[in-house]
């Protein structure tokens, strides 16, 4: 089963060289790899770019990472640092579309502090991209991944994912402006097994293409280890959360696709996520550990 997992495949109407992708936040803005030593990589199906918001975000204070024990997990609070739409357009988007086409399909990871920020950003991006890029399977961009584990300033900081009606409204509005681009919704590892099923159904009903299971698990390391106080746990332990969430929804939401993410560190782990019901396997922490991870797979 494992070896059949590698190799070209189709997902949401597009060909990918492999179902194994780089997860958001762990492959920078892709240009680091373009400029650096480690492209092309075999077996890298696509790259999800770092989280982008409409306004620039300076991110969290240092220290931003803390490794728990030896290999237990990594806690990060990067604080979603990003250049915002305008600078993203000049620094990256134009480069990708005009001068230096990426070797891999890119997904855009999106977040906001209010529903209208998500909407404005997606609308702006779709506009820019459709202006300059071929649409469809040869295009630079493949779709949007929506990070909904963000504090909603209109709801006193409660995450978008935690209020069903807020979630419903957000997804409906995103669908309205996203002109049939594939949309993945990315959920937190902290979703309960019953909660995720309910929310996955909302996704399916809103015409969302798939869900990414999962983002990091909220965690608070001992005092002083993380500048912001608390952060998100990634790495080995997250595998059990990802598998739990995948199994909770697999086969119960029509043709809603499932993208696994969390603790994947090789083909064995990807195979387990596949048996549970996932089609795509995103790799985060393991790429930081071993940037040639994809190339080394076999």
């Amino acid at each position: 089963m494992n070896s059949s997992l590698l190799g070209p495949m189709k997902f949401l109407g597009r060909e990918y060289e492999s179902p194994i992708w780089a997860a958001s936040g762990c492959y920078g803005w892709y240009v680091e790899a373009q400029d650096g030593e480690f492209l092309p990589q075999k077996n890298l199906g696509a790259v999800v770019l770092k989280g982008l918001s409409f306004e620039a975000e300076r991110g969290a204070p240092q220290p931003r990472i803390w490794e728990m024990g030896e290999g237990l997990g990594l806690v990060n609070a990067i604080g979603l640092q990003n250049p915002g739409f305008d600078k993203f357009k000049t620094d990256y988007l134009n480069r990708f579309l005009k001068t230096q086409k990426p070797k891999h399909p890119l997904w855009l990871n999106i977040y906001g502090k209010k529903t209208e920020e998500y909407v404005k950003l997606i609308k702006s991006l779709v506009g820019e991209i459709e202006n300059l890029d071929v649409k469809g399977s040869q295009g630079v961009f493949a779709g949007f991944e929506i990070n909904i584990s963000c504090p909603n300033v209109e709801k006193g900081g409660l995450e978008f994912s935690q209020d069903l009606s807020v979630l419903n409204k957000l997804l409906t509005e995103i669908k309205l402006v996203s002109r049939n681009w594939p949309i993945l919704v990315k959920f937190s590892a902290a979703e309960s097994s019953s909660g995720i099923l309910e929310k996955a159904k909302i996704c399916a009903d809103s015409g969302i293409s798939g869900i990414t299971l999962c983002n990091t698990l909220p965690a608070r390391p001992p005092k002083g280890k993380i500048g912001r106080g608390s952060g998100g746990l990634s790495g080995p332990t997250l595998k059990l959360q990802s598998l739990r969430l995948i199994e909770s929804v697999a086969g119960k939401c029509g043709d809603l696709k499932i993208v696994a993410c969390g603790g994947i560190d090789g083909l064995e782990a990807a195979g387990q996520a596949q048996s549970a019901g996932a089609e795509i396997f995103q790799v985060g922490t393991q790429v930081l550990r071993d940037p040639w991870f994809f190339d080394r797979l076999k």
Partner: protein
């Protein structure tokens, strides 16, 4: 650029890095009470610049830890010897120093980081001063070493100010580290950052400093009073790193140019600390 043995050592525009499974040549050798000298055999080599660093990963750790390249010598077509000076700074380094054995596997990713003033290292004939604190000596040692060596042939005046917590720490250090320190250019204090009195910075064309935030702040404050140092104060801005190659934004520091990744845009930044 060749070292005393004629080995081609340095390329000042090194942009390429790689990753190899290295092996400890021997157990770490104690430098001072808390600093240890690691000698690693690497099955490969890349040209490097003094001031660059490597990410080192050992044991079960998920991520590597950054360490300045103290020395890195090619030994054959596919082998080299990498020297690091590692301080017992936290759980990871403490455990490593305690248990490391000859032949242990360590992953070496490097050389990493930019050293924008690297070309001037061998070309600027005016006096420079290097400042460092404790084990961070490793971060400037390769540069001092280079300028001192070339001073034998040319004029590359180089002063070095080293701050250690105790005189013992100083005396325990490698003999060649001490050799570069003038008797009046060493500070000992456990409690405060010492800046030598009556130090005249007007004679220097560059100040290169690496130390704790406190240490660097003290020097930056001083240096900012000298107009000759505008644009010539370089600080290594350390932050915990996960990837070392710009992917994760763990290592962002505030600089005059806004938030920058220490590993990719840095670790050397010009100007005052933010």
């Amino acid at each position: 650029m060749a070292d005393v043995n004629g080995n081609e050592l340095l390329s000042f525009h090194a942009k390429s890095w790689s990753e190899w499974p290295g092996r400890l040549v021997k157990p770490p050798r104690r430098g001072s009470e808390i600093d240890f000298h690691f000698n690693i055999e690497v099955p490969g080599f890349r040209a490097w610049t003094p001031g660059q660093f490597v990410m080192l990963r050992w044991g079960q750790h998920l991520t590597g830890r950054p360490f300045a390249i103290f020395e890195w010598k090619q030994a054959g077509p596919n082998s080299s010897q990498l020297h690091l000076l590692i301080r017992n700074a936290g759980e990871g380094t403490a455990e490593f120093i305690k248990n490391a054995q000859a032949q242990d596997l360590v992953w070496v990713r490097g050389p990493l980081g930019q050293v924008p003033f690297a070309a001037d290292l061998t070309e600027d004939l005016r006096p420079w001063i290097f400042l460092s604190e404790g084990a961070r000596l490793a971060g400037v040692f390769a540069m001092i070493h280079l300028r001192r060596k070339l001073q034998l042939q040319q004029q590359l005046p180089t002063d070095f100010w080293w701050h250690t917590e105790t005189r013992k720490e100083f005396m325990d250090a490698e003999i060649h580290s001490r050799a570069y320190v003038k008797p009046d250019a060493i500070g000992f204090s456990e409690t405060q950052i010492l800046i030598p009195e009556n130090l005249d910075l007007t004679k220097y064309s560059k100040v290169i400093a690496v130390g704790s935030e406190d240490f660097q702040n003290s020097w930056a404050k001083l240096a900012n009073q000298y107009s000759n140092l505008d644009g010539n104060l370089w600080l290594r801005r350390d932050a915990p790193m996960a990837c070392g190659i710009g992917l994760c934004f763990s290592c962002t520091v505030e600089t005059a140019q806004g938030p920058q990744r220490s590993c990719l845009e840095g670790p050397w930044f010009e100007g005052s600390l933010k």
